[in-house]
């Protein structure tokens, strides 16, 4: 089973993406400048350490200048304290920059996510969206904090050491530098292998994560069908593949480091052997050789660390690209620049010659015309896939029509702001989504300023106050992730009340009571007669019993209205509605008659 397509985790250096990543540093230019200075100061202090101790030994201790030694020691102590101070600010500033940038990218991502239209959500699985917020953002953070510091400080140290070595003895220095090409060759050669092994490891890991995510979400099915044993075996297989991929990376690394270490050894031996001969011949001073040995020891660390940066850059490129792709995803449904606030409406709705397709030319709504008066209750009937839900999706402008227009109180809904439109149109869905939180939080969702009194009032009217109060903590009961602690009927009831509390002018009920029992449903319908007064409502229901009292019933087939009228009219017409109705009714009546 292919659980997830592989997402590339490395990408070559791309100046455009790099510039964009760096643009996030612009607000922190001051801090960045400060930290670069601090990094340089820190590197300088670490370079002069050996010089100070050497001077202490040669210039003071051997000479017996105790006062001078005291002064030197005090100065050295001062430098160490300064270094502590400098390091503190360097580390804190770098973390601050990284975290602040990451924080603002996350904020921007979420902001954009909230604006994105449904065509995005229809296509992209939740898990992938979440990855943008976690590992992709982390890869940028890694580069911005770790990468920048390493680059600046290690380059400075490396250049410093190379300069000192060259000035001490050019020939010996050049001889020593001959190992650099070997090191570069090794690094690039191994890097290709390591990068591909790491890519393999990550894709195996993400496959495992997808498997985990799905099997945790579907754990109830797993248990119901006794699949634990088989699934554990499958998981072990996937997990073992991750293990093998990880061990392959480990193997390459454990192979790579000894080689790097060996080049350092060779470099040192060359200096010792050749430098030693020079000293023996008297063409090189002892002090120079000793200094050289010390610097060769420090020479390989920075090279090793710098080679790590390339990987950070690659990872940040890949992460950055995905983040920017999300940020650049066009918002297909948005406010026009001159969109006006929709004033409080009466609830007249008009569909004018509406065409709509989710994708391409595959129209699900074909030339729909429908005019609804304020306060009217319209029932929409039709088979699965007839386009009922699409009609109401268009009304709250979750999608835009391909042709034609939808008017609310005479305003084209594309000319008003989304927020002002949606605040006046409330939808109750067949599969209600509740947020983790208390019942009260969920009820208040559509209108956060609703008072407790209003909440109780609506629930009482709907007849659900009793059931809520009987829960362990009443209105403060936590409903769990997606409302999983409530039964699906209870979730529908809560979402019903949530919609009514939003005080919409237009109420859309999409199979809103499918999971509610008939008895409760009837109570709700009675309550609705009061609650719907003055509101336009659209009701979609399979159970025809629930819609007989609608002012008008429209029957939809293949994206258009095929019948329209009151229940009585449609029954008399003996058309599609009659057919549907009889099918449901006959099943009830047959036994009784017989």
């Amino acid at each position: 089973m292919a659980y997830q397509q592989e997402e590339t985790t490395e990408k070559r250096f791309d100046p455009q993406i790099a510039r964009r990543i760096l643009s996030y540093l612009r607000p922190c230019v001051k801090q960045l400048a400060l930290s670069v200075v601090l990094v340089l100061v820190g590197s300088l202090i670490s370079l002069i350490g050996p010089l100070v101790t050497r001077s202490a030994v040669d210039d003071y201790i051997m000479v017996g200048d105790m006062t001078g030694l005291n002064i030197l020691v005090l100065a050295w102590l001062g430098i160490l304290c300064a270094n502590w101070f400098v390091s503190y600010w360097r580390m804190y500033t770098m973390s601050w920059i990284g975290q602040t940038v990451v924080h603002s990218i996350r904020k921007e991502l979420f902001d954009h996510l909230m604006k994105l239209s449904f065509d995005y959500y229809d296509k992209v699985p939740v898990g992938k969206t979440i990855t943008r917020f976690t590992s992709d953002v982390d890869s940028l953070n890694e580069l911005l904090t770790g990468g920048v510091v390493t680059l600046v400080s290690e380059s400075a140290v490396l250049i410093g050491i190379m300069g000192i070595m060259l000035s001490l003895d050019t020939r010996l220095a050049l001889l020593c530098f001959t190992v650099i090409p070997v090191l570069v060759y090794l690094t690039t050669g191994f890097r290709a292998k390591i990068v591909s092994a790491e890519r393999d490891e990550r894709s195996k890991t993400s496959e495992m994560n997808a498997y985990l995510q799905e099997n945790i979400s579907g754990v109830r099915v797993v248990q119901a069908f006794c699949r634990e044993g088989l699934n554990l075996k499958r998981f072990d297989k996937i997990s073992r593949a991750v293990f093998d991929a990880a061990m392959r990376v480990v193997y390459l690394f454990s192979y790579f480091w000894p080689f790097v270490d060996m080049t350092a050894v060779v470099g040192t031996v060359v200096v010792l052997w050749y430098g030693g001969l020079q000293v023996a011949h008297g063409t090189l001073s002892l002090g120079t050789l000793v200094a050289f040995i010390a610097y060769v020891g420090q020479f390989f660390g920075p090279i090793r660390n710098l080679s790590q940066i390339y990987r950070m850059v690659q990872r940040a490129m890949a992460g950055g690209e995905r983040i920017f792709r999300l940020l650049d995803t066009e918002i297909s449904i948005k406010d026009k620049p001159d969109a006006i606030e929709l004033p409080p409406i009466k609830g007249a709705v008009e569909f004018k010659d509406v065409y709509f397709a989710y994708e391409g030319d595959d129209h699900v709504i074909k030339g729909l015309n429908l005019s609804v008066r304020p306060g009217e209750t319209i029932a929409i009937v039709g088979q699965t896939g007839a386009g009922k839900t699409s009609i109401i999706n268009l009304l709250s402008r979750l999608y835009d029509v391909n042709a034609g227009s939808i008017l609310v109180d005479g305003y084209d809904i594309r000319n008003v702001t989304l927020a002002s439109l949606r605040r006046q149109v409330a939808v109750v869905l067949q599969e209600p989504f509740l947020f983790a939180g208390s019942i009260k939080d969920n009820l208040r969702y559509g209108r956060p300023e609703a008072t407790d009194g209003e909440i109780y009032e609506v629930c009482r009217q709907l007849g659900i106050d009793d059931f809520i109060r009987k829960l362990p903590k009443g209105y403060d009961t936590e409903v769990g992730e997606r409302g999983s602690k409530l039964s699906s009927g209870q979730r529908q009831l809560v979402s019903f009340a949530r919609a009514l509390l939003a005080r919409p002018a237009i109420l859309v009920l999409d199979e809103a009571t499918a999971s509610v029992d008939t008895y409760t449903e009837r109570l709700i319908q009675e309550a609705l007669r009061e609650l719907l007064k003055g509101r336009t409502s659209f009701v979609i229901a399979h159970r025809l019993s629930t819609i007989q009292e609608a002012n008008r019933i429209i029957v939809i087939d293949d994206g258009n209205v095929v019948e329209e009228g009151t229940h009585e009219q449609l029954i008399r017409a003996r058309g599609r509605y009659y057919h549907l109705y009889m099918m449901q009714f006959s099943s009830m009546a047959s036994r009784e008659v017989s």
């Binding site: 101790t53 030994v57 201790i61 017996g64 105790m66 160490l80 502590w84 390091s87 600010w89 360097r90 602040t100 924080h103 904020k107 979420f110 449904f118 939740v126 985990l212 799905e214 945790i216 069908f225 006794c226 699949r227 554990l232 998981f235 061990m247 480990v250 454990s254 192979y255 000894p258 080689f259 050894v265 031996v269 010792l272 052997w273 030693g276 001969l277 023996a280 050789l289 088979q383 979750l398 409330a426 599969e431 947020f435 983790a436 997606r482 699906s488 529908q492 029992d517 008895y519 399979h542 159970r543 025809l544 019993s545 007989q548 449901q584 009714f585 009830m588 047959s590 009784e592 008659v593």
Partner: protein, 588 residues
Amino acid sequence: MRVIARVYSDYVRRSWPLLAIAVLLVVCETVMNVYMPQLSKAMVDAAVGTDGVEAASRVLLWKSLVYTVLGLIRSVVIFFEIYLFERVAENVSLNVRHDLYDKVQNLSFAFHNRSRTGDLMSRMTSDVYAVRDMCGFGVSMLAYDVFIIVSVVGWMIAYNPVYALASLFSMPLLAVFAIRYSGRSGPVFRSIQDQVASMTAAVQESVSGIRVVKAFAQEDQERDRFGKANDAVLRDNLKAAKINAFYHPAMDFCASLGTVGVIWCGGRLYAQGALTAGDITAFLSYLWMLIWPVRQIAAIIRIAQRGIAGGQRVFEILDARDQIANRSDAEQIAEVAGHVQFCDVDFSYDSEEKVLDGFSLDIPPGSTVGILGTTGSGKSTIGALIPRFHDVDSGAILIDGKDIRDLDIHSLRRQVGIVPQDTFLFSTSIRENIAYYQPDIELERVIAAAKAAQIHDFIESLPQGYDTVVGERGVGLSGGQRQRVAIARALVMDPKILILDDSTASVDAETESMIQESLREIAKGRTTIIISQKVSSVRYADRIVVLRNGKIIEQGTHAELYALGGFYRQLCDAQAMPLQPAREGVEI
């Protein structure tokens, strides 16, 4: 500490030979690291020696060879060292993952109702990695640090105790810093891990519920909620940054302070003639060797703290007690007749409000029982208790006269096919979804089940037929289509007891009547329990049980209950459309 001990005894110990070898190799490497500078010193001495150029070059060549050979040996040692430590770590990670997965998928429904997917995910991924890093990288750094510090300090004390004391005077301060650092950073790291998990959960929820968010135009509210979680992550990370930025340089400072001691005391002792110049240089060079290990202490502490926090979160899951377990003497049942009895069952979810209260019901083998009730009356609970997704508080449920708690859970569940209220399909082909119970089942049986569930024609109409991938990463099915796939999935098991929990709620009338039609076929030879709020779904049942507040208020056949004129009649009337058109309709 307890977490570390447990990680060791439960996981690391299994690979102890590898670990022992790896630690031994660290000792070898340390010895070589301490020895190799001696070799270069000898070479320098030879170069300035008075034995002449000839002798010097011989010694230089010879020692260069020795140095190179030692370097080669060290390379091999390093290779095995890295490999073995990481191997131990990956072993730990593999085993922890296995245990976690096994535990999570066996935890009860009650546990899963409480927990969040995002949180469980982060425990099974990043927390496991934290533990792994502690066992591999962390242990290798610690081993290296301990040996180098012990050997250097030991050498110094053995060489000149007084001078050693002067050079190491900052070590107690270092210990104080290390202890305080680990004390202060631990809670912050744990808090970061928690905050990141809750931020992820916030994104997950907003994205999953985006329809509701958009429908109510509440993007701002979501932004606030996410903003708070995002701010909390930033706040904690900055807190950690402050702690790191203070203690890391502090430990560096302590290490460098040693050089101050060496110089200052060294100068004085040298003046008194108690030390030679060589001693001072030697002490200095050894002290330089300590700087890197001391610097690493902070990193080790950080890795350990993260590992401990991760370990805690892992063990929280492994120690969860919400498990419905087999009795030690659980009985395997092969084929049941399908006699289901509820005997005076009490049940509650949160041990507060009773969902079922003294519920008794006898369902003869092969019969069909309809359970009808108001929302929240406990209908679905009845369905969930039979396959033992939850245990009853008191009373008992018997199948063929045997208490289900005495039966092997799997052998019980294999007899019970359930079509749950919320349909969950896996991101795989329709075929694999239907054949979920037994993946290697023949296609004919899958098709037969699909036909019985009235979904075969639809599946055939898809471009890839039974191989069409569904679920989150596949094509979207409507609620009704998903439910029918779930019915087929249950039918493939050919269960003796079939439970349909509101399984036609979102199916349109035409399809429902088709399913009803075939259900009569399907129900033959099995005990079928149909849970619904639709009279039309249950009316053919041999017996209909009407439930209210966890108690049976009416039971009988459709005709009996209709005649009774009680609550069932009311429900019938509500659905039988008692208005005028009924008159016209009766003529059928």
